[in-house]
């Protein structure tokens, strides 16, 4: 059973377009993180959200945690080729472990 579902699995868009990817669960999380992974490398932490309804911005990336702390979204404005990668969400539920989603593979076409 996959606790965290990410959608879409694959997304390919033109440079300059906007996009949103989603991370959904039926479980409540104490915190949720987003990572980006490039080929041949480990995931790199982008952001952590901890409060229901919280919005964080990282340059052109906007992250939102759902009010009920069961879901999250990542919105990218004016996508650039450097945004290409695998985006992973991960939720923490009060113990020492994280549960990872299966990821959204994003390709930005120049």
């Amino acid at each position: 059973t996959q606790l965290l579902e990410q959608s879409p699995q694959f997304l390919s868009i033109q440079e300059g377009e906007n996009l949103t990817v989603y991370c959904n669960s039926s479980s409540v999380f104490s915190s949720l993180q987003w990572y980006r992974q490039e080929p041949g490398e480990g995931p790199v932490l982008l952001v952590t959200v901890v409060t229901g309804g919280e919005v964080k911005k990282l340059k052109r990336l906007t992250f939102q945690f759902g009010d009920a702390r069961k879901d999250s979204s990542l919105h990218i404005t004016a996508a650039q080729p450097g945004d290409t990668g695998l985006y992973l969400c991960a939720g923490q539920r009060g113990n020492e472990k994280l549960t990872f989603g299966t990821g959204t593979r994003l390709t930005i076409i120049p």
């Binding site: 480990g42 995931p43 020492e96 472990k97």
Partner: protein
């Protein structure tokens, strides 16, 4: 840079042989984790450690064992490698405090033939 290295970075081995992967960190973090990453499954936790000689199983621990005799090293052993253990293996650390953020090593690509 969380100062995490993994060795080897690539390995090809035969079915039935034992294999040990090493994760080394330079910042004395207490918590360390081993994951495997496979298409369609994302990152799945194999084992994790709270400190020296203090380890616990994750969701896919069958066929794997770990040891942590020093804070800086966390070893993952495949006791008798099988083709289903072909994967990319990542080590991660978690700093104490914060919101459970984890920082990952560069990974080891293991192929079992």
């Amino acid at each position: 840079d969380a100062g995490i290295t993994q060795s080897p970075r690539h390995k090809v081995t035969e079915t039935g042989t034992p294999v040990t992967l090493r994760c080394h960190q330079t910042e004395n973090h207490r918590y360390m984790y081993w994951y495997r990453q496979d298409p369609g499954h994302g990152l799945r936790l194999i084992h994790y450690s709270y400190g020296v000689k203090d380890t616990d199983k994750g969701e896919v621990s069958d066929g794997y064992s770990v040891s942590r005799s020093k804070t800086e090293d966390f070893l993952l052993t495949l006791e008798s490698a099988t083709s289903s253990q072909t994967s990319v293996y990542f080590c991660a650390i978690r700093p104490v405090g914060g919101s459970y953020e984890q920082y990952f090593g560069p990974g080891t690509r293991l192929t079992v033939t």
